[in-house]
Symmetry: C2
Subunit: 466 residues, 2 copies
């Protein structure tokens, strides 16, 4: 007979105690295949518990496959024999913690943004208003796959006004970051796609595409951006470029090169241009450079934008503007993918744009970033014979080339010794070696440092290098 020790005072229900006892008896082999269990009536009498309790214990054992009920014959132990049972459980291997990184005193990263001046108050208030509006409970339902329509309308309006992008909200797909959107876009473009990427370039995109087993052809830069002749000679049918502010070189692609690349794209139906407009909001000299998409009269440009730079890196909202030919493929083949951005965040960003906070924030940040950039240029001014600065008119970083023959490696080693985190051009090369005119070049990002940190950091920078 089955005789578990039942503790009626336990927090574990009695039926669970019985179920666990029998399960263990089976697992340890005390009860084996074909053994008959007592009837529920017998066991309930034996254990002095209700029949219902036994029913529940047996029911759980049946559901998990330990026992089965044979009609009119009673309950029998199932065959759970398996060589797995005799093998002792291996202790889960504790994965190694990620490699510890050096801590720096001054983080001149080209990826950071200024979070000191983030409008937390307005941001909070916007979210609070959304969550407090009880009409918004629909925001908890699954939303449209491409993103909420009013959010896409707000993006389309913003892109039109600020970037000269010409699109309807129907062409926009909202997604949780550029990485995800590239995963999606690569599927829409199809496996036969061959990408051309500038060298140097945004290595994350390079890594994503090569890890997806796409052929990616590195194309050299001249002073106008992606070299058109190399592009023409390559087998590539999709060119990935950053025309408004080349990453990391800071080149603004002039109108002629833009037209040449558009003309290249127009020569074949399967050719497209990916315009990654990652930080075009921040330009410090003259008017903003209009997007390539805006001058494309042949629907050849795929526009890729993000709020990571303009708002915060933790803000996982980016967007893709698809030309009609690709939108059709998306709708037919890939629109089954659920949206990846929470609807509350979509609504928050919509309100932030609609109420004018976004434009005000951009204008404010442009001034703040410009002051930081101006400060760096002023500090470096006395050393101008020894260095060459470029890419300083837009974005959140600039390039410094040393003319004294010190190698990039030496420069970075000196920085590290002084606990300055700087970046070398070679980590952005899609193809080595670093071309001669880019040797001895370091990248200095200034967005995430406060003014105080920047002052101290630049002091250390000067001491380190001059």
């Amino acid at each position: 007979m089955i005789t578990p020790i039942i503790d009626p005072a336990s927090k574990i229900p009695v039926y669970t105690q019985i179920y666990k006892y029998i399960k263990k008896e089976i697992e340890t082999g005390h009860l084996t295949f074909h053994d008959k269990l007592p009837s529920t009536r017998t066991l309930s009498a034996h254990l002095q518990v209700s029949r219902n309790t036994i029913d529940m214990a047996y029911g759980q054992l049946i559901d998990e496959g330990y026992i089965e009920a044979r009609p009119k014959r009673g309950f029998f132990v199932c065959d759970i024999s398996s060589n797995l049972m005799s093998i002792p459980a291996s202790i889960p291997e504790q994965p190694q913690p990620q490699a510890s990184t050096i801590t720096y005193d001054y983080e001149f990263s080209p990826y950071g943004v200024d979070l000191e001046n983030f409008p937390y108050g307005t941001w909070r208030k916007t979210m609070r208003d959304i969550l407090y509006d009880d009409r918004n409970t629909a925001l908890f339902e699954a939303g449209p796959r491409q993103g909420d329509m009013d959010f896409r309308q707000a993006i389309a309006d913003y892109l039109h006004q600020s970037r000269g992008v010409s699109c309807t909200p129907e062409q926009i797909i909202v997604g949780a970051g550029v990485d995800y959107l590239l995963l999606l876009l690569s599927q829409i473009l199809g496996r036969k796609t061959i990408f051309a990427m500038e060298n140097p370039s945004y290595m994350k995109a390079w890594r994503i595409l090569t890890h997806l087993d796409f052929q990616v052809v590195p194309v050299a830069l001249d002073k106008y951006g992606m070299d058109i002749n190399t592009l023409r000679e390559s087998p590539a049918n999709v060119a990935y470029i950053t025309p408004s502010h080349h990453f990391p070189m800071g080149i603004v692609m002039p109108i002629k090169r833009r037209q040449e690349i558009l003309a290249w794209a127009c020569e074949s139906d399967d050719r497209f241009i990916i315009e990654d407009d990652y930080d075009s909001e921040f330009r410090y000299k003259g008017r903003p450079i209009p997007s390539l998409q805006g001058i494309d009269t042949h629907q050849k440009v795929i526009y890729l934008g993000t709020f990571s730079k303009a708002i915060a890196p933790s803000m996982r909202i980016s967007y893709l503007v698809l030309p009609p030919a690709l939108l059709k493929i998306y709708r037919q083949e890939y629109s089954f993918y659920s949206n990846t951005v929470p609807r509350t965040e979509q609504k928050q960003m919509t309100e932030f744009i609609r109420q004018g906070h976004f434009q005000r924030h951009l204008n404010r940040m442009r001034n703040i970033y410009k002051s930081k950039r101006d400060y760096i240029l002023k500090v470096l001014e006395p050393y101008s014979p020894q260095i060459q600065i470029s890419g300083e008119n837009s974005g959140l970083h600039l390039l410094i080339r040393f003319k004294d023959g010190r190698s990039e490696e030496e420069l970075l080693a000196q920085a590290e010794k002084n606990r300055l985190h700087l970046f070398g051009i070679s980590q952005y090369m899609t193809q080595m070696p670093v071309p001669k005119h880019l040797t001895s070049t370091i990248i200095l990002g200034y967005a995430s440092l406060t003014f105080r940190q920047l002052q101290q950091g630049m002091e250390h920078f000067i001491q380190c290098y001059f």
Copy 2:
């Protein structure tokens, strides 16, 4: 000489007016390649504006590539000729709106959840506290790629307590929905992977994997879940299963079949099991069925979970628990992907779990869903000779098979005529035809209907079918 009409009262800065005028002159061919522009001194005198204004206008034109400065010679118009210029802009094609769907009075969808009883107050308060805590500004910085550590710890604790999952937070990857995590997982598993999926199954996963050009083998179900012999005979090395509550059949895989599938996986290093545990929180009879991962002593199970069912579909948070062998590949090859979940949402969910709200919410919803399920079973009770109900003990839907010979097509047509949205089994088949024992079967999801809607909906259901 260049003579734009300058409006000093305009909101458009004077330099912009000049820049725009010259740009237009170049684009329309009034100024052509090699034309020399007046010097800044001459033009400033001519237009009675400062030289700085002309500098800025010319600077913008240089940056955009319309003109160039030739040292010691002055400013010249660039070659922007391109056949593109002469082609009139094509009007963007307005994409077709998505096919209009029939509106139903009663939505018996297996995908919905109950949002009437969502704890909006607590949810709001949790987010408000997070946003108001100014120490949390770090939440706006880019976070760890796998997700925040305290969030992963909270998930690991929850999974251990509620699902018997045995893992460290290091094994967890947080992502914006199961779709995204499958995109990532498929890369970690590698292109040679051949998947086995149950038939019928969760079609979204099927679509994702087949659209990524993976070979996916449909494997028939028997009453215990995925048929082990068919799996053994197939070339598949990764089995995608829903053992706790088969989607859509509702089968609970018994311990023996679990062990058989684990034994299959143990036979080769490249074999793995994906356990999609999509709605295991809701079980109405007996104790929860422990996860397959929890009894896997050989690190062969990839566990996939989501908060979409337990919280809300708009909540784009899912998670992947990787066994050590795959975690190693992820760390070496794919950890460059940025995280896809906003850190504020990660923090919100962490607090929701930590403060006990999540468990309370689950317990409450389990009772509510159980009442809805019980109501349906009670209403259908008088018709039990004509139908066969299955999958009713877990999850948010049940299956009804009609014994009177009406086909699935007829059943769905009748439902549509009565404005009831029901689902047929055939749309979940990875391979047709529908096996004989599954013909005439419809799926009835009951989560998203309020009690009142459910009462009325079931009344219509009875009138429609009996």
